[in-house]
């Protein structure tokens, strides 16, 4: 069976918890090659979204939850992460609107729309040392898992693992987008904070899907 609004709510709750848990780690990553606010901003955004989740109707769909996260991140996260993740959740919401039973194909559609939204907003390409370096392998792995017959939870597990690999693979890169691009080769050896947080969020999605 597919993923429903309760899964999306659980994803939000776990995301908020995981971001809070990794707040200092994300700040440390961002301080090395950015402006140091990624952990704090994302934590504030997800806590705000969590606080608003109580207003959602009991029979809410995944798209409703994703849209709530999108608008909250956009309006409460000051850094680049607000518009980027906000656009990702917004496009994801649009891609699965009306459905309360997301199958493997719908999960791939959701992830693809999120990734495309970030590309549209930030104009980054793979290899630029951005969150796209986690999102793109995640989308590719999700599609491959679906093609191999995996269910929605297994598709998310494949996406999360690929995002984690993609985040690690940003370590040796020189940044071509964002604040880190000013650092040139000094960014080498540091992980992109947005790729790291992407991996955390997708792992949360997989974990809550697996528990259902």
């Amino acid at each position: 069976m597919g993923l429903d609004g309760a899964w999306a709510r659980a994803w939000l709750e776990t995301s908020a918890a995981v971001v809070a848990e990794h707040r200092v780690e994300l700040i440390t990553l961002d301080r090395a090659i950015g402006d140091g606010d990624h952990g704090e901003n994302l934590d504030r955004g997800f806590q705000a979204a969590l606080a608003k989740a109580g207003d959602l109707a009991p029979d809410t769909t995944p798209a409703d939850v994703l849209k709530l996260i999108a608008t909250t991140l956009i309006s409460t996260v000051g850094g680049a992460a607000g518009p980027l993740f906000g656009t990702a959740y917004l496009k994801a919401a649009g891609a699965v609107a009306g459905s309360d039973d997301l199958d493997a194909d719908a999960v791939v559609t959701l992830l693809t729309a999120a990734r495309d939204g970030i590309v549209l907003r930030g104009k980054a390409e793979p290899g630029d040392k951005t969150m796209i370096d986690a999102w793109t392998p995640a989308v590719d792995a999700a599609a491959a898992a679906r093609d191999a017959g995996a269910g929605p939870a297994a598709v998310l597990v494949a996406a999360a693992a690929a995002a984690e690999g993609g985040a690690i693979a940003t370590d040796p890169l020189v940044a071509r987008k964002g604040r880190a691009s000013y650092l040139g080769e000094r960014a080498i050896g540091h992980r992109d904070p947005g790729a790291a947080s992407t991996a955390l969020l997708l792992r949360a999605a997989a974990d809550v899907a697996g528990e259902r």
Binding site: I74, G78, G79, A80, P83, L84, G178, R179
Partner: protein
């Protein structure tokens, strides 16, 4: 305020930068809607979707809004804010890829002179303090040939600084003819300021256009008047 003119929004990670830029540009663009959108909602360093959205609405007087930004995430915030505007307003709002300070001042001055959104964007994008841009082709000094030229001494104490330079460019823009100041385009604010004209300098105002005489006379008289300064 701002009736009939393009509005300008300055988006910065710092409230002080955005507000300071309004003060700076205001000197040269007293009647344009110039709206700062700097810092986070909590007053920290960052950009705010809410502040940017509100500033765009405030700057709009129906003739378009140019939004200038500092660092990358300010652009992302501004573009996201555009996505959430209603279609009618969004159609006349543009995020302009330009240097915030130089482009912002140029945008404000062009808006002050009644330029449309295309003109405001174009002046902002071309405004950089680098090598002084040459006068457009065809505006060669009118030495001995067709055209008209006058040389007057610059009398104001502080030379052709920002305020008089803006006044000069505003006046130059009211004429269709191509005019040069010491060989540079009389309609380019930053080009003129980069000439570094100080008190006592001879300023040669020229036009190769047959219709340029009125423009040259008007501009020469403005320079000779000392711009109301002693």
């Amino acid at each position: 305020m701002g009736d009939g003119k393009v509005g300008v929004v300055f988006v910065s990670h710092s409230a002080l930068i955005a507000e300071g830029l309004v003060d700076l540009a205001r000197q040269m663009a007293p009647t344009v809607n110039l709206v700062p959108a700097g810092g986070t909602d909590a007053g920290g360093i960052g950009t705010s979707f809410e502040k940017v959205s509100a500033a765009i609405s405030e700057a709009d007087a129906g003739h378009g809004v140019a939004v200038l930004c500092d660092l990358g995430s300010a652009i992302l915030t501004a573009e996201t804010a555009l996505d959430f505007l209603d279609d009618v307003l969004r159609a006349r709002v543009r995020v302009v890829d330009a240097a915030l300070v130089e482009g912002g001042v140029a945008a404000a001055v062009t808006a002050e002179t009644g330029g449309d959104l295309d003109a405001v964007e174009s002046s902002a994008r071309s405004a950089v303090f680098g090598p002084v841009s040459e006068a457009p082709a065809g505006a060669a000094p009118a030495a001995g040939g067709a055209g008209f030229s006058r040389t007057v001494a610059l009398t104001n104490k502080d030379g052709l600084h920002a305020r008089p330079a803006a006044e000069f460019v505003k006046l130059a823009n009211t004429f269709a003819a191509r005019v040069t100041v010491n060989g540079k385009d009389a309609k380019s604010l930053l080009g003129i300021m980069a000439l570094g004209l100080v008190q006592g300098t001879d300023v040669t105002i020229a036009s190769a256009d047959p219709e340029g005489e009125d423009a040259v006379n008007a501009l020469a008289e403005l320079v000779a008047s000392g711009f109301g300064e002693s």
